[in-house]
Assembly symmetry: C2
DNA sequence: GAACGATACCTCGACTCCGAGGTATCCTGT
DNA sequence: ACAGGATACCTCGGAGTCGAGGTATCGTTC
């Protein structure tokens, strides 16, 4: 299982040096409304990433009270960010919350072709034949249900896919121009 | 952390008795394209749910070869399903994959008012003021970025929310009629 | 009879994440 | 001086999940 917030940590630190607390707040803003991240997840991860040489820390006086850790991305961290952006784990392609995290930092890939390759993966995912329910080999559609909630499921999934597919195609055209 | 697939197990078994292998395939169809569930997650969970009295198992000859376990929801399991549908964990409201699981089985709540209450929670979630990025106290919008990917993030999130909000409102009207 | 493949279920060590509880620092108010 | 609050960071035991490896059963083929 891939670490959900590692990419966010790398991405935000690529944007700018940040204090741990600030970083926490930015991650919360990006994905926390869907899925909050506990301190118990973040701080050990920061520690681990420092140990792995992905980021460095220096202690500074706090803004109001407590001292704070200034976090900076190392060259190694930068490389790791680019690696993760270029070749993201499948869950970053399929799970919306993770996909949004990926989008938030994709500009840090210099190569439009690499950016396009990532978008293509998402496009393939969204355009693959899929259904939530099957009758043997036959995918069931909204009309197969007299249940408004299952109908809603299809309606929502179809509409949201359509919107995103449109954006993906349009953005891919720009990247190839 | 709430068990992601427990609701799916309860829901599918509420639909019909199923063999473990069939159940696995249905869950995979419902949510597996986004997030596949490992056997190591499912089978111990079935065991745990049996121990908790939520489901019962009886061994049957397999369709082709190996013997299979026929799984049936108990009255207790039924009650637990209704409890989870009526008062779902917050993550089932906010995380799309889980929300879809919830929608798939919401018809098993008899009370339209209880169904409506769940939809209202999702509506509140989708209509709350939110942004992915902030500048101090100010939420940033798509126009604040010249980065096409962050712009896309807002575009996609806004459009998909709009679609679902529309469906939610329409369905709530039907439930109240 | 043995090997293989398909069906069907299981375990285990490792990893990720949670939530509760905690520590540390500084400033303000009593 | 002490308590409380806000800022800022940390740990730990428990829960959920993964992926790899495994067992069991039956039918088919050689």
């Amino acid at each position: 299982m891939v670490i959900m917030i590692e990419l966010a940590v790398l991405g935000f630190l690529r944007d700018a040096q940040l204090h741990g607390y600030d970083l926490r707040k930015r991650i919360a803003a990006l994905t926390g409304h869907v899925r909050p991240i506990a301190d118990g997840t973040l701080y050990p991860l920061l520690k681990k990433m420092e140990a792995a040489g992905l980021l460095s820390r220096s202690l500074q006086p706090g803004q109001v009270a407590a001292p704070r850790q200034m976090l900076s991305l190392t060259d190694s961290g930068r490389t790791e960010l680019e690696r993760q952006l270029r070749d993201p784990d499948e869950l970053f392609i399929t799970d919306e919350n993770r996909w949004f995290t990926l989008l938030a930092f994709l500009r840090h890939l210099d190569d439009p072709a690499a950016q396009a390759a990532v978008l293509l993966r998402r496009l393939e995912f969204l355009t693959q034949p899929a259904s939530f329910f099957w009758d043997g080999d036959r995918p069931l559609r909204a009309v197969d249900f007299d249940d408004p909630f299952r109908r809603g499921l299809f309606t929502i999934a179809t509409a949201t896919s359509r919107t995103e597919i449109k954006w993906l195609r349009s953005t891919l055209e720009q990247l190839e121009a």
